[in-house]
């Protein structure tokens, strides 16, 4: 018995000492990480070449004519405009070509359309299709197919997510709610030319009207206005004009495609394409094993190091066109004053939040545009570095006096501000709790599940809410909510006449230089009276096996991903 007790005692001492040492190491690492921060004035993509392509695993090298990428899950609805699962969008991108596509900067490139014109009043769009276009089954692609696609998406019983209400094709109302048997604003002039008249001026109309094209012969054979149920049988058998044709969907496992020999830009060099369905935790192992050729690896510099260590991985740290923000409820009496919002800005150490979240693969945001967008400029924009003294000055100026418990009060009311988020480990919570309590604000975080958080957000039942914007394409995407009078769109309740005027001006013209000037002024105005607290831009790692040539241009989900896929090839040897 005595020996057992001594043994146990020794063991527990050993365990305890390793724990102590372990925690020391952890804190040392933390301080090193927080020291890093990107201080580029404009965040750029970084490329890291593979150091040893010959280290590529055998499993990958055996695939001499196929490219394997990943998606997180698939819904199985392979029809553009009819899927709700965003990953299905990635799945159909290689199958369906569009008239016009956009890249990360928001610049349009012609895909099926060779050329296009917009009328002087900005309401009529004319697309000129390339000659000799065919779908993957050999049937010709003409302007009739474009007309069919747009009509289908405006059918009275269409319940998908493609939304024309900000563009509105002329004649849609008659088609949806009256007896019209076609949409009058869509005009097929000849096989290669189509003219579409719209009711609202909107530069985004180009990509909305110029989206993926469905073959009328295949999808429209049974089409009767008002009844789209027949399409359900075709969800799993898509046909389009993209670089790859659908071959097979192995449920829950992978989606297989074969090169489309009828593709207008020539049959792609790689004969087979596979999207393997993997959760993000296992992407790295599968890549190491050679089971996949390309994947998205999140925003962790440790992963970058590991990828570089493999030797055969080329990596692109890509700037993502979205923004992280904390929305502020301007309708709330406490938060209505501009000075209060500025105080919240100065009183928050955003650099620390960005470092904790991205450890160098992100940057503090000051402009209502992503660094990839063509309108991005921070000229003359008021920046809000962490300055607790200035924050306290502003709060004093508003009449908030520090009470006996350290929390500010005014007219008997305490300065309590709540914060909604959907992620448990949101770094805003610890950082804001610390920095805001330093300046006398009672910060109350709430972690809610996604749908609950959004329900409260849209009901205006919040003080602060931390979310990311969706992917930004046009400069108007990030700012139009601040000019709207509709409480469902303008969830902050922000009102600023100058900003509203500039936002409207921004989409009233198609001249990019003119728009650039307007947006530069707009960004300045928004920084002086901030509607929300901007947090961050981020980079995401995309890694690919070095034997894939052209891998730096491809990311699943990119607007121009189908064009990039068509250009991939595998290096010999």
């Amino acid at each position: 018995m005595r020996t057992v007790r001594r043994g146990v005692a020794l063991a527990s001492v050993a365990v305890a000492s390793t724990l102590l040492l372990g925690s020391c190491a952890a804190t040392a690492e933390e301080t090193a990480a927080t020291g890093e921060s990107a201080d580029l004035s404009q965040l750029q993509d970084d490329f890291y070449e593979a150091t040893d392509p010959s280290a590529s695993p055998a499993a990958a090298n055996e695939r001499t004519d196929s490219f394997v990428s990943t998606i997180s899950s698939a819904g199985g609805v392979f029809l553009p405009g009819f899927y709700d699962n965003g990953w299905d969008g990635n799945a159909v991108a290689p199958i369906f070509a569009s008239l016009v596509v956009t890249d990360d900067a928001g610049e349009p490139t012609g895909d099926l359309a060779e050329d296009w014109e917009v009328s002087d009043d900005g309401l009529t769009y004319t697309f000129h299709l390339r000659e000799g276009l065919v779908f993957s089954d050999g049937s010709p692609l003409t302007a009739d197919d474009v007309a069919f696609t747009l009509t289908l998406l405006n059918d009275p019983s269409y319940e998908g997510s493609v939304d024309f209400t900000k563009v509105v094709i002329v004649g849609t109302d008659d088609y949806k709610n009256a007896d019209a048997d076609s949409i009058s604003g869509i005009n097929v002039i000849d096989d290669q030319t189509i003219e579409i008249a719209t009711e609202k001026v909107n530069p985004n109309a180009l990509t909305l009207l110029g989206g993926q094209v469905l073959p009328e012969e295949y999808y429209g054979a049974d089409y009767v206005k008002g009844d789209l149920d027949y399409l359900r049988d075709l969800y799993s058998k898509p046909i389009g004009a993209g670089p790859y044709a659908f071959e097979e969907y192995v449920e829950g496992q992978e989606i297989r495609y074969t090169a489309n020999e009828n593709y207008y830009d020539g049959e792609p060099a790689i004969g087979t394409l596979i999207f393997k369905i993997l959760s993000s935790d296992s992407t790295l192992q599968n890549f190491q094993n050679g089971d996949i050729d390309q994947g998205g690896f999140g925003s962790d510099p440790d992963t970058l190091e590991e990828l570089q260590g493999l030797g055969f991985a080329s990596v692109r740290a890509r700037v993502i066109p979205d923004l992280g923000q904390i929305w502020v409820n301007n309708d709330n009496e406490t938060l209505a004053a501009t000075e209060m919002r500025q105080a919240l800005y100065y009183g928050l150490d955003r650099q620390q939040i960005v470092d904790a979240k991205y450890k160098g693969l992100g940057q503090v945001a000051d402009v209502y545009a992503a660094p990839t967008q063509w309108s991005y400029t921070n000229e003359g924009v008021t920046q809000y570095p962490y300055d607790p003294e200035k924050a306290e000055e502003l709060l004093d100026g508003l009449g908030w006096e520090v009470g006996s418990d350290g929390i500010r009060e005014k007219d008997g009311e305490k300065l309590t501000i709540s914060y909604i988020t959907t992620t448990q480990d949101d770094p805003v919570i610890p950082v804001a709790s610390a920095t805001y309590s330093d300046i006398g604000i009672d910060f109350v975080p709430e972690v809610l599940d996604g749908n609950t958080a959004f329900a409260r957000f849209y009901d205006h039942d919040y003080d602060l809410a931390g979310f990311r914007t969706d992917g930004l394409v046009d400069p108007d995407d990030a700012v139009n909510e601040f000019a709207s009078e509709d409480p469902h769109i303008n969830v902050t309740g922000y009102e600023n006449a100058e900003v509203a005027k500039l936002v409207d001006e921004g989409i009233s013209t198609f001249d990019q230089d003119e728009r650039q000037e307007i947006y530069a002024e707009l960004y300045r105005a928004l920084s002086e009276d901030p509607p929300t607290i901007l947090l961050d831009y981020r980079k995401s790692l995309s890694g690919w096996n070095a034997r894939i040539q052209g891998g730096e241009n491809f990311t699943t989900g990119g607007g121009d991903s189908s064009l990039a896929l068509a250009k991939l090839s595998i290096a010999d040897g």
């Binding site: 709700d84 449920e251 829950g252 959760s279 094993n289």
Partner: protein, 313 residues
Amino acid sequence: MLLLLVGVSLIVFALFALMPGDYYSSNRQLTPARLAELRELRGLDQPVMVRYLTWLGNAVQGDFGFSLVYNRPVTEVIAPLIWNSFLVAFASFVLTWIIASVTGVLAATKQYSWFDRFVTVMLFASLSIPSFFLGLLLIKFFAVDLQWLPAGSMLDTASTSTGIARVLEIARHMVLPVAILTFLGAGSLTRYFRSGMLEQLRADFVRTARAKGLSERAVVFSHALRNALLPAITLLAFELPALFSGAIITEQIFNWPGIGRIQLESVQTRDYDVVMTITIFLAVLTIVGSFLADVLYAIADPRVRLVNRSRTS
């Protein structure tokens, strides 16, 4: 039994309907006009009771509704997934019970031996180690370092195998997930068998049997074991719903296309039809399971039969 089912379905439906937000709440691209249009099309703007009765009416006729997320009938979406989950669950169920019963009984008969202590340590490891950690560790060890087993999924990339080759391929891919589930499940079950056995070994009738001069083997395996296994029958019957409910974490780590992930997802996205169908399915299995437990118990334990007989006579 039917009443129980209706009650369960009503409670589940009401709880989900009371949660704030619906399927469209998190879609920020839709304009308010479009949101209203969509909600009307899908019937989401109706009062809860109406929606419930509609669902009930359809379910009784065999129409389990439409998945909002997958835009396909619910049965089409979950049928293949349930089968995949069942495969892994059944294999680990068989292994778990074999391992647990053997080790539990042996550990009980050799209490305080090194074997018993070893089993106890492994048992607590099984109860404490989180599944995702073990899963990732095994993947790193067996799949990446040693390259003996695949890193996940049900089939190899671009696999076109059929027949026996396909069966073997799936079996190869099943090894790690089944191993994890077995390891994690065997812990508590072993403890159960062990303590049940220990209890029986202390009972008076065992003392009598030993006094009678029976060999230890006969005492343990013919007399004590049979009594120790009786409560396990109840456990066995309740395994039925567990076989079909999927292991959420394990399926995620190994990319096994099972029903676990979809359960979680449908709650988060408020995909009502999927949630209701899965819940009712599991409720049916649980009720059937408990009914089976009653029947099996009556067969196995003569005391239950005698009591029933004496009551009715």
